[in-house]
Amino acid sequence: MSGGPIEDDRTLVERVADRPGPALPWLGAGLVLLALEFGRFLGWALSLGAGLRFAFDGIVAIPGWVGGNVADTAGSLAGFLAQDLTALVVLFVVASVLVRLAPWRIVDRLELGWSRKREAYAERLAVTAVLAAVASALAFTPAGSILRFELEVAAWLLESVAASIPTLTSPETIPNQGHRTPGGGWEGTFLGLSPAVAWAIRTAVVFAYALACLVWAWSGYDRYRRHYRQADWTPRDDTVRRLRNHYWGLFGLTIVIGFVVLALWAPAISPVPAEANIYQPYEHEFEYLGEDGEVASITHGAANINTRSDGQHTVAPLSYDQYDRFAPLGTTPRGQDLLTNLAFGARTSLIIGLTAIGLGAFIAVVLSLLTAYYKGVADVLTVVASDTIISIPAFLLVMLISVIFSEGNHPLADPLDGGLLLALVFAFVFWPGMWRAIRGPSLQVAEQEWVDAAKSYGQRPTTTMRKHMSPYIAGYIMIYASLLLGSVIIFTAALTFLGLGISPPTPEWGRLIDQGQPYIATSSWHVATISGLMIVLVVTAFNALGDALRDAIDPEADVGEGEETGGATTGGGV
């Protein structure tokens, strides 16, 4: 591969600026893709902001909560003290994080001549003081409520912008909800087509768009590799090559991508809006052509009662209900649209899975690095903690914790009707397993000579762990995390099946199976069957992907090297 001039110490941006040929079309295509779905991206950003705000509010609530608890037992004065102390501790933690993130250090400019440790603590304390001043100003003066109001206005503005910008895949651009006209055509649908066709077009556009994004990302990597990367070859190339030849893994990857697209574009793929059909069914009306030939209007809730698939009546897959609504996968026993439930249920599963695995993996990685580097007491404590958690049956533990929190009406049990709580519980229950899985590799890499070499030229322990140890366990944790993601989905579904995990109205696949299970032998067989098959497919796909990642990352498991040589031609495996 031609790699530009040989002695090249320019940055990537400079290299692109020098030879923009291959990069420009790619950037242009990226802009087009962004513009097509800008409203949706803005919407995602806003939901992310809402999540952050929830986290922020939770942290802000900690001092009050601690203070209240102390006040209950030790009197109100102690309560105030505890509240203030907790607030200061929280601010100190925030200050430490901020100081770490800041690119420059204040103390370096002051040149106090103190020891490093003292300087660092002085700096953190100073930032804490500043934060405390700002926080009390916000809490005790009108400034706080003004700021909050401003932020809400800004968020509302952004939301309305997001709603008003035409988005390629939104149900407004390609509407599929309409009603028959007495003349035999359709009113209100995309180009007057039937709702089934309009829905099919929209879904096709969604997947085409997602595919275009993937192609765009791959071409970006390819262009970078061919035109801008300095090294002819990096170990990543081999990983990609091995992954490309791993058909079982590619199958898994395809399904996983489909699952993610289903979750991300759930509003576009759903034939009816979830808000109207599932969350607030009696507050949204729609029009249909009545039996008397008049166009009437009815709420979703009232219509749903007559469109149940409960063995006696059935709205089968790929059919219309009596209200001119197209149900690609039929309806649920509650009369809601099954695909809408599946799509938003995928969203629930994905959020829970990613949060749980992300948090659990983070805990596992940090602990494994610390225990492998320092060994000794840290190691023993972690072993004891993880063994304690593992010794309790996982399912029982999850049930126990989630019941305690949801019965206690803890604020954590609110988001997603218990979904966030479930994710946190999974993180708590699953980190010991992940930690064990990467403990061996971590200990191994801690003994490598290059770790000693890093120490020998004076590298800091945290940097040594991050730079010289973590890349070696990244692969292992990725494999294990992708395998566990499947288990999290099954666990969530199983809990909801038992009526414990996520309560309605938040859609969840386990609940669909639970609802459909009594009618499996009737004409409404589709509810439990389709949901069950989806779970099987997605979990299998995650396992396949994990398998493929393991083979791709491990340089010694070189599968599919060139053309498969067949079992008999070679003696020992590579």
């Binding site: 002695e7 110490d9 320019r10 020891s115 090294a231 490598q448 070499a453 030229y457 004076g458």
Partner: protein, 440 residues
């Protein structure tokens, strides 16, 4: 058991190792991997440490770098002093809380002796007031003196610690370092070249990247400037086309090139002392010669002090100025390189020299029967006795001390056969007396 001599030094030593003891505490046993080793490292000179596998060479090197990890640790009473004026001044100004002033007249030797549970007799004095403070510290009781506010690790023997420019003599006690002061010494003052260049370079980063990492830490270089400096360093160690090579990964280098890169990395921060732990063992003979030549050249250019560790008597003859032969954690013979090869005194050294393969065919190569024992408790006998062809009864019960052998006093051996001029019983008594008379 201080070194018999420091007569070979022209310059004064930059590192003084005194009574270094490193032990590993496992559940089953305590392994005294290094058990009382003392030697000096002089700028511009190479001191060799040679011995069989398991004799404690590598642990010595790692102790110097502070790389002995759990369950091992450097024992109390060991002393590794870094005598480098610039460093002492820098440390005195940066870590005043850890700087001890040995010139302070209010420090009473009697107090110090109390603190370390020692008697004046340990130092060969009757009256505690006669014992010089510096000597207490120098005898290897560097820890726990409590002369500074924190853990004392910087000792000033001449000058005013409050005003670093006035300091004219002092040392940093490496064996007591941790945290920031240790990181500054590591790499910045003392660097290490490891045995296997394949494993001491991280395979996921380019060679340049790893050199840049060290440059950033100690010299604050960043970005393109750091990359250029890395390329210059690679060129310095004889890597052709260095500009391209900095962007390559360790696996794209040949073994010899890799070791050159490791040396470049060690030199990146302009250290005063280079510790080479079997740097040529993983290489073939011609590459080995090139690397040795490179080291010699760098040493001359930078006036570098080198500690060279190997099991190869041939290599040691080539590179060192002074050789310490270690056996089971102890130095059994220490001499200038010519003297050692011309007149090896200790039976173990002789055995080692006889077991170098020659070019003659036919003769069976001589070996030393048996293996290096694992020392579990303090020695009360000669650890080599079970394998020694010249062992006699007293070897089982008397621990030999280093005594001067040969003409000058720079040749010492720890063997009951010496001093040669005494009769055998007189020599044994001499050793026994010195063993019980304390460590001085």
């Amino acid at each position: 058991m201080g070194p018999e001599s420091t007569a070979d030094r022209e310059g004064s030593p930059i590192v003084e190792v005194r009574n270094l003891q490193t032990a590993f505490f496992t559940e089953k046993e305590t392994i005294r991997a290094v058990d009382g080793i003392s030697f000096d490292v002089v700028p511009g000179r190479t001191v060799g440490i040679v011995g069989e596998s398991g004799s404690g060479k590598t642990v010595t090197a790692r102790s110097l770098m502070g790389l002995v990890g759990r369950p091992g640790r450097v024992l109390r009473g060991s002393s590794i002093r870094f005598r480098h004026l610039e460093t002492v001044r820098e440390y005195a100004s940066r870590f005043p809380g850890r700087t001890a002033d040995l010139t302070d007249p209010s420090v009473e030797p009697a107090d110090l002796l109390d603190r370390i549970d020692a008697t004046p007799e340990t130092f060969g004095y009757d009256d505690p007031r006669d014992v010089p403070v510096a000597e207490v510290v120098a005898a290897g009781y560097a820890d726990g003196l409590g002369l500074a506010d924190g853990d004392d690790c910087v000792f000033v023997t001449e000058g005013e610690p409050g005003e670093p420019e006035t300091i004219t003599d002092g040392f940093v006690e490496i064996s007591r370092l941790d945290g920031e002061p240790q990181r500054l010494i590591r790499g910045g003052r003392i660097a290490m070249v490891f045995q296997d260049p394949l494993t001491s370079l991280n395979p996921v980063y380019t060679v340049g990247n790893q050199i840049v990492e060290a440059l950033r830490l100690h010299r604050g270089l960043r970005g393109a400037e750091a990359t250029r400096e890395a390329a210059r360093l690679l060129e310095d160690v004889g890597i052709p086309d260095a500009g391209r090579r900095v962007e390559e990964y360790p696996h794209q280098f040949s073994g010899g090139m890799r070791q050159r890169a490791v040396i470049a990395m060690a030199l990146a921060c302009q250290p005063e002392v280079l510790i080479c732990d079997e740097p040529t063992t993983a290489l073939d003979v011609t590459i080995q010669a090139q690397i040795l030549e490179l080291l010699a050249e760098i040493q001359e250019r930078r006036d570098l002090a080198i500690v060279f560790i190997t099991h190869d008597m041939g290599v040691i003859a080539n590179v060192s100025d002074r050789v310490n032969v270690v056996y089971a954690g102890e130095i059994v013979e220490s001499a200038g390189v010519e003297a050692l090869f011309a007149e090896p005194k200790h039976p173990y050294t002789r055995g080692l020299l006889r077991s170098i393969p020659g070019r003659q065919t036919g003769d069976r190569l001589e070996t030393i029967e048996g293996n290096v024992p694992t020392p579990n408790e303090p020695a009360t006998y000669c650890r080599f006795a079970p394998r020694c062809p010249e062992a006699f009864e007293a070897c089982e019960s008397v621990h030999p001390q280093a005594v001067s052998v040969g003409d000058g006093d720079d040749h010492a051996a720890a063997c009951l056969l010496y001093p040669e001029e005494l009769s055998r019983t007189a020599a044994v008594d001499h050793h026994r007396e010195r063993t019980h008379g304390g460590d001085g």
